[in-house]
């Protein structure tokens, strides 16, 4: 059970960084850390002691497979995380070209 608690602590570290930092690049890094903790948690739930990887082969008799359903979900989620990070970085590039800084408080105070 201690691995579940460590996953949750990683999620809380990412959440703390998301709320209290002022630099745009650090906000993107904190969001990425929160996504990593969720991937580990989903794969940890489906693990069986003494199981093997889910590939059928005729040399193994009476096998016991690890659960393949959480692995399919996490595969989709990894690629979606990459698309989200790329779009956030493109918005950050555009803001830097216009205001010449990454600080969100300075950007919020300048109007127009």
């Amino acid at each position: 059970m201690i691995v579940y608690i460590l996953c949750f602590i990683l999620f809380l570290v990412g959440l703390y960084g998301l709320i209290t930092r002022r630099n745009l690049v650090k906000i993107v890094i904190s969001l990425s850390i929160m996504e990593f903790s969720i991937f580990i948690f989903l794969v940890l739930i489906g693990y069986i002691d003494g199981g093997i990887a889910p590939i059928v082969s005729e040399k193994i008799i009476n096998p016991e497979y690890v659960d393949p359903l959480p692995q399919a979900m996490v595969l989709t989620a990894i690629v979606i995380g990459l698309a989200t990070t790329a779009m956030l970085m493109s918005i950050a590039i555009r803001l830097y070209r216009k205001y010449k800084t990454f600080d969100i408080r300075v950007i919020k105070n300048l109007k127009g």
Partner: protein, 175 residues
């Protein structure tokens, strides 16, 4: 197995705390990359080779994009001055963390102990995938045949991200 996973997760937590508090933006990005690469070893220990291949390539591409953006702009981190807004932010974060800890303590009692999964839904999938679809890789069979709509949605998301980036940056090509 549980000991090795706990040590790896401890390294990831230390790396994440360093990435948030670093004074240089390039060090923060490299520490986040190290967290991603430790995830690959965790996936290999948990018997998931599909996920390890995808995660290592995706993490490399993410690192290339972030290092190129950081090196082209400023590299310094701003000074933290503790004024009224910052104290409000930190107390708000602490309130959120306490609420989440309360719900987590209630939810963790319903989980099975680590390593003893009950396979309530997957026993139907595991028994029938190889016979009905004819593929030897169970994860690919589930992902493309039983759950094909999720794969279609993911391809659409990647396509939309490529179009969105081209229109945000307004690229026309060389004149």
């Amino acid at each position: 197995m549980e000991l090795a996973l706990s040590i790896l997760l401890g390294f990831m937590i230390i790396g994440a705390i360093f990435a948030i508090h670093a004074k240089d933006l390039l060090s923060a990005v490299i520490a986040a990359g190290i967290v991603g690469y430790s995830l690959v070893i965790c996936f290999l220990l948990l018997k998931a080779p599909d996920l390890a291949i995808v995660q290592i390539v995706v993490e490399t591409i993410t690192l290339i994009i972030m290092v190129a953006v950081v090196l082209d702009s400023t590299r310094e981190e701003l000074k933290i001055n503790i004024d009224r807004q910052q104290i409000l932010n930190i107390s708000l974060a602490l309130i959120f963390i306490l609420v989440l800890i309360f719900f987590f303590v209630q939810a963790i009692e319903t989980l099975n102990p680590f390593g003893q999964h009950s396979l309530r839904m997957a026993s139907a999938y595991v028994g029938e995938t190889a016979a009905k679809t004819g593929s030897a890789n169970l994860v690919t069979g589930v992902l493309f045949d039983f759950r094909g709509y999720d794969t279609l949605g993911e391809a659409t998301i990647l396509f939309t991200a490529a179009i969105g980036i081209l229109s945000i940056l307004r690229i026309k090509g060389k004149k």
